[in-house]
């Protein structure tokens, strides 16, 4: 299946969906002008991928900022993962957050309570730039 790479902008995250490399990642800022236009290709890719997925799928989320409109899109994305699990596939979410970012930890924890997908919540050391 052809990989989906979307380069980051100042209001949209990096998207890496590459089944060949078994690399799945969403990272950066998410506050697009139109959440549907941005996330629909991501949903479509994932739905197609889960028709015939790899034995194990780990999706990394490393989000620096998420506006409330994007948080709803992310929930839709997690529902696709939940459906894949119901269909018998192995899927997990790796939710990374900077160790001092309590709000982003909370966001991950809340999704993990809503969605029946294994969540690994992983603190990252604060970047020293």
């Amino acid at each position: 299946m052809e990989a989906l790479y979307i380069k980051p902008t100042n209001d949209t995250p990096t998207i890496i969906l590459d089944s060949g490399k078994n690399h799945f990642e969403i990272s950066g800022k998410s506050l697009p002008e139109d959440v549907n236009t941005f996330y629909d290709p991501v949903f479509n890719w994932l739905e197609k991928y889960f028709e015939n997925p790899n034995p194990q799928t780990s999706i990394i989320f490393n989000l620096d900022y998420l506006n409330t409109a994007s948080s709803k899109s992310l929930l839709s994305l997690f529902l696709i993962l939940e459906n894949a699990i119901i269909a018998g596939h192995n899927v997990e979410v790796v939710w990374q957050y900077l160790v001092d970012d309590e709000d982003m930890f909370d966001v991950g924890e809340e999704y993990s309570e809503i969605i029946k997908v294994p969540f690994r919540i992983v603190p990252l050391d604060v970047e020293y730039l």
Partner: protein, 193 residues
Amino acid sequence: MTVESFNQTSFLSFLKEFEPGILLSNILLFYEGEVNHEITKALTFTTEKNIGNNGTSRATQKKVFNAMIECLQNIDKHSFESDLDNSIISKKGSILVSEDANSYFILAGNPVSYTQKDTLTKIISNLNHKEKKDLRTLYKKQLENGKLSDKGGAGLGFIDMARKSGNNIKFSFYPINDKLLFFVYKILVTKLH
């Protein structure tokens, strides 16, 4: 230019009435006019960068950025709502960001109808009575059940601002004419060190 030289229809006069002390704090940004996505980004990215340069913690910086985004998206979305007239004034909004030694203040506002006044009063008063854990429950419920409008939002903005700021949202309404009121609210972000 002093603030007094703004004309009388300036929303700044409502902000002053709402929060007289604001002019004594250090004002980082004042904007009045139409708000779209590009303006939202320009205002928030500039402010984020400026407060990042003065030693504010990253967590506080993000809370201010977050509140500004939600406030500006409220103004942007609001100008599309149907029960407002088509006047120029009802498409505009205003945001002011300032700080003192302990806090950042985000004041935002836009014209609303009298019907919207009642709805907003109910929503924000309800949030102001809630404990942190109850806001969390409400946020989750709204995230799961709230319908996403064409302009996003899904009713999460005020819940999110109440939670992340950890402080009550002070708000008020000032009559503009017989159809419109100026709705103004304040998000207080305590500086974390």
